[in-house]
Homo-oligomer: 76 residues x 11
């Protein structure tokens, strides 16, 4: 192996870290959903569908990072 | 491969990390939307459209990073 | 051992750090669930199932990181 | 390629990370706007225009970073 | 000793840092449990069992990191 | 190009990152302004002028960083 | 001394940093306990025992890090 | 140019980053001022003068960093 | 002096940084204690003793780091 | 110039960053003072003096960092 | 000067950064004290003494870091 390959591995590791904070964001969405259901259990359907939509939109950031990581490992 | 290529890979990894915090921001928007729907389920339409607008505006930051990452990988 | 292998180890270490913040996010979900049960103990079933769903969705981010780490250690 | 070019790529990657936290800030603005509309749906016009003004002012920070990144890649 | 071994040690150190934020998340769960018991002491059983479940689920992130650290030290 | 130039590029990248957190701070100001208008729509003028004053004062930090980045790129 | 030993020392330093955030988490638990006692002084026994249980569970993360640090210094 | 100059540039970049968080702190002051004016518009004078005093005191931290950065660039 | 000694110094610097966040955690405990006394001044004794117990438990994390730093400086 | 001088410059840059978070802490004090004056304008004297005392005590941390930075630049 | 001296300077810079977050923690204590005085001005004596005790306990973390920094500069 040569050193450049090792540096690319670090780059890939950094790239996938993009999803790091998404974990907080999604946890926040889910936490607020749990709180809202505790207050208003009848609105469970609406709350859960908005929760899943919000998490799906947030997930895009993590996927950008995964994409660049995969791209660095297999293509670069 | 040469070392410079490996360093560029690290640069690209750092660049795409720009989107890292956007995940929190978007999660915050979605979490507040979930909370607001739990309180006031009739205003669901307005809340969800503002949520998507807010997430779209926040997404721009993540896209700047992705753009610079792509630019470093394919153009630089 | 050669240096590149050491650099890949650093890359793997960075990659698995993706799951770092997920720990906060999941803790937030669980904390809010605990709070909601303290307020409204009868809704325990709904709250706990939403909590587990939210944690499962957040877990995906940590798994992306673990996947890239494993991929860097065994495949790259 | 020479090593200096690789180091400049890292510099550009760091520069564009300036926009990282702006994603949280803008998410906070949008989240508060969603919350305010949930409480007071008639004031939607004023709230949304203040939200867009606030996001535009915050965006300047991300743009400083993008500017320095572009400057490092194409001019330096 | 050779340098690669030192770099692997750094990688292992980074990997185990995954559990860093889990400490906040779990502290948040426990803090909310303490708060909920202060408000509603009769629901202590339910609150404490949900707290332990939530902490166990959050712990998985820290364990991913520990696993990769052990894997880098003994296997890589 | 020589290596020192690359290192200066990294220094400039770090310097402009000073503005990173300003994005959160300004987002906080704007978010609170949105919230205050949602509660008290008649005070919109006073709130918006204080918001712009506060953002202008916070912006100084980001400008210090931009200044040092420009200074490192063109003068150093 | 050789360089690898120095790098292992850095690895150990990073590993023990795992406990860094645990300090916040535990402080949060204790802070909430203090708050709950201020509100409801008769429930002091239950609150304090849950506080100690929560801190003990959070402490595990810090101990993983200490373990890997010790392992890197004396075994690796 | 020689390498030491490049390293000093990195040092200066790090030094000016001291002001990074000040942006949050000042944003917090301004955000709270906006909130307080929204609640109590007659106290605008007192609130705004305390806000400017608080921002001026916080600004000192950013100025320490700028000072050391300037000192590293021109004197060291 | 040789380079390894310098790297060990960096390791020790990182190790003692473990106590960094403990400062926030302990500040949180003390802040909540101040708040609770402001609300309920008669419970000052109980609050202050729980505060000191909580700070003592949090302090352990900072001490792990100090221990590893001392260990790296004098023993390694 | 020699390389060691450049590394000392980085050390000084890191040292002065100690004051980074102090900016948040002081901003928090000032923000809370602004909030308290908005609620209770007659207590302005007491609030402002406590605010200045609190900021002065927090400032010590930033001064430790500045001291070590100055010490590294001029004495080391 | 030799390189090891420069690396020790970086280690000292990192060590003194331990006090970084203490600034937030102490700011939190002072901010809460300001808030509590705004609510309950007669309890000023008790609040201020608890505030100073809490800040003194938090300060220990910053002092560990300063101690290791001084130790690295003058003894190591």
């Amino acid at each position: 192996m040569d050193i450049a390959k090792g540096l690319i591995a670090i780059g890939a590791g950094l790239a996938v870290m993009t999803g790091m904070m998404t974990g907080i964001g999604e946890g926040f969405v889910a936490g607020k959903a749990v709180e809202a259901i505790g207050r208003n259990p009848e609105a469970e359907g609406k709350i859960r569908s908005t929760m899943i939509l919000g998490i799906a939109l947030s997930e895009t950031c993590a996927i950008y990072g995964l994409l660049v990581a995969i791209l660095l490992i297999f293509v670069f």
